[in-house]
């Protein structure tokens, strides 16, 4: 179940959503926008959104007034309390050396299952997909073993391996990013 990494990351940035709001007439719809923005702000601890589009404008500020330290909503407070970051795909940027293109223009190959990642068919074998390897949609890029079954994972996109995101024999969870691919 490899997925094309969307041009824009899955959870759109507030700005992107705001852009969508362009030609709206009714205030009702605009309030819907505000609601969405607020959800985003709350979830991501955004303290200010300043959104203008022609004659439309929305400014939102959250938390303590300017000057005071930013405050976290419940979720990030949880992290603060447990000092453990939430598992989040957004938290893993592509390393700087991967390419000059920003990470969100790369494809991502995600693990379709929980299991153990194997880069090669045998412990001493060549990796299916090394850094810089050219791949097509049918290329097997790795194996994920689950319940003693070796599942070959196909790229389902074509291009060049820009990043290998997990180590050999590392456990992976559903939806975890295995590779990032520079589109051909």
């Amino acid at each position: 179940m490899p997925k094309k990494a969307p041009k824009k990351t899955k959870r759109k940035s507030p700005a992107a959503k705001a852009a969508k709001a362009k030609k709206r007439r009714s205030a009702k719809e605009m309030i819907e926008d505000v609601r969405e923005l607020v959800d985003l702000m709350t979830a991501h601890d955004i303290t200010e959104v300043n959104f203008e589009d022609g004659d439309k404008r929305i400014v939102l500020r959250r938390g303590p007034p300017a000057g005071a330290p930013a405050e976290a909503p419940a979720e990030s407070a949880m992290s603060a309390a447990n000092s453990e970051p939430a598992p989040s795909r957004q938290a893993e940027p592509a390393p700087a050396d991967a390419d000059s293109k920003p990470a969100d223009e790369l494809f991502e190959i995600l693990s379709p299952m929980v299991g153990t990642f194997y880069a090669s068919a045998s412990p001493d074998g060549e990796p299916y997909a090394a850094h810089g390897a050219r791949i097509t949609e049918d290329t097997v890029v790795c194996i994920v073993e689950a319940m003693k079954v070796m599942n070959e994972i196909r790229a389902e996109c074509s291009g060049t391996i820009a990043e290998i995101c997990v180590k050999n024999t590392q456990p992976v969870e559903y939806g975890q990013v295995l590779f990032r691919v520079m589109p051909a």
């Binding site: 959800d39 709350t42 979830a43 909503p73 419940a74 979720e75 949880m78 992290s79 447990n82 453990e84 939430a86 598992p87 299952m113 929980v114 299991g115 153990t116 689950a146 319940m147 456990p171 992976v172 969870e173 559903y174 939806g175 975890q176």
Partner: protein, 449 residues
């Protein structure tokens, strides 16, 4: 004792198991679907593994994915909670094959008690009172009619593979029996992939009484007294309590001992429940056995002081029960109200969404079991249960008063919940008298409004 357990469930029961493990010094691994990714209880576990997308079939009900997670997380045991895979004997078998302890009864006990016909046979053998029914399944409508004529109408046509109130049709005479039978078979085949049916004498206006028991792997079985679960809406329990009001000590003993005999005969280990119908003549009849922890287990914990989830874990690890039947007493009265995210104004449709304002009740006599907090997003994907309010007081009257004042303290906005219905029931004269039966909400209360 185990050092690391995987919790194969979500929401309040996952949190319940994580809490028990923490108190026992056991590490926990939580699995979650993408929909539950942001739930805060996951952070109380020592490790979290995403096993799939939202639909249960691809996550919480998906055996290979859960086993794979257990393997990469290197756990010694799996706690299934309730619902999902908790009563799936096949899952228990896969666990056993993979050398992972399934925290629950043996595969054999689960198979035997999960099959309604087998369970009835065993109950009969254990001398558990039972309403008249067919000897095993009925092959066709003719046999059903013969059985019904013998035991007398009204009768219930039930699916062997049904349970929890699902797959039941009622017939008041032969004509309706003949049409119902066909419907019932078709429905059972679609719903359970198993068209087998049986017929039993229908008991009307019964109270639902169930007995909690614990068995260890060393042949010891004790009961932890009964629960009254007659407050139901469409056969889903809404309010439960222990002890059952108005039960004579003699009847209590008979019911509880019946459950123990059956559990012993089934060679049961772990926590389980025998459900009974108590008719208007105070005669009780075997209904079914649930081979898991139940939603309403806290009321038993409150009156007995026994932590049932901790004992499930200890038993699965091979420990002996630390108490005999004589050591167990019940103290006071406990009531549980299920708080579901449902809209009473719209036929109790689920009411998912973000909890914008949230304040839970507290204080003397109040226990609150819930994974919900202000800012939590209730997904539309799963069960609507968002929390359980449990009260414990010296008398039933005081418990009702505490439950009422606690329900009044809730602030849950803008999600619609069953709180108003619970308040209505807890102020209803019939409930106060302890004379509720399982159809009362529909028959009179919802009609009243």
């Amino acid at each position: 004792m185990f050092s690391r357990i995987l919790v194969a469930n979500r929401g309040e029961v996952a949190l319940r198991v994580i809490r028990a493990c923490k108190e026992l010094g056991i590490e926990t691994v939580a699995v979650y679907s993408e929909v539950d990714r942001n739930a805060s209880y996951l952070h109380l576990a020592d490790e979290r593994i995403c096993i799939g997308p939202g639909p249960s079939s691809e996550s919480y009900l998906n055996i290979p994915r859960i086993i794979a997670a257990a393997e990469i997380a290197d756990v010694e045991a799996i706690h299934p909670g309730y619902g999902f895979l908790a009563e799936n004997a096949h899952f228990a078998e896969v666990c056993r094959d993979c050398k992972i302890e399934f925290i629950g009864p043996s595969v054999e006990s689960m198979r035997m008690l999960g099959d309604k016909i087998e369970a009835k046979r065993l109950a009969k053998k254990a001398n558990v009172p039972m309403n008249p029914c067919s000897e095993g399944t009925v092959e066709d409508v003719a046999e059903a009619a013969t059985v019904a004529a013998t035991i007398g109408y009204p009768v219930a046509i039930k699916a062997v593979a049904g349970g929890g109130g699902r797959g039941i049709r009622f017939a008041h005479n032969e004509a309706t029996l003949r049409s119902m039978f066909k419907q019932a078979r078709a429905e059972a085949e679609v719903a359970f992939g198993d068209g087998r049916l049986y017929v039993e004498k229908c008991i009307e206006n019964f109270r639902h009484i169930e007995v909690q028991f614990l068995g260890d792997m060393h042949g010891n079985v004790v009961h932890l007294f009964e629960r009254e679960c007659s407050v139901q809406r469409r056969r889903q329990k809404m309010i439960e309590e222990s002890p059952a009001p108005g039960l004579s000590e003699k009847l209590r003993q008979e019911i509880c001992q019946s459950a123990v005999r059956l559990a012993k005969l089934a060679d049961y280990h772990g926590a389980g429940t025998v459900e009974f119908m108590l008719d208007q003549d105070n005669t009780f009849h075997f209904l079914e056995v649930n081979t898991r922890i139940q939603v309403e287990h806290p009321v038993t914990e409150m009156v007995t002081g026994v932590d049932l989830v901790k004992w499930q874990i200890r038993i699965a690890a091979g420990e002996k029960l630390a108490f005999s039947q004589d050591d167990l007493t019940h103290r006071g009265s406990s009531i549980e109200c299920r708080i579901n995210a449902e809209d009473p104004e719209r036929g109790f449709r689920p009411s998912p969404g973000r909890v914008v304002a949230f304040v839970a009740p507290g204080g003397a006599g109040v226990r609150w079991d819930s994974h919900v907090y202000q800012g939590y997003e209730i997904p539309p994907t799963y069960d609507s249960l968002i929390g359980k309010l449990i009260v414990h007081r010296p008398t039933r009257e005081e418990a009702i008063a505490t439950a009422r004042r606690a329900l009044e303290e809730f602030i849950i906005y803008p999600i619609k919940t069953t709180i108003p219905l619970c308040r209505q029931i807890l102020s209803h004269e019939r409930f106060l008298r302890g004379e509720w039966d399982t159809t009362y909400i529909e028959r009179e209360l919802l009609g009243d409004r």
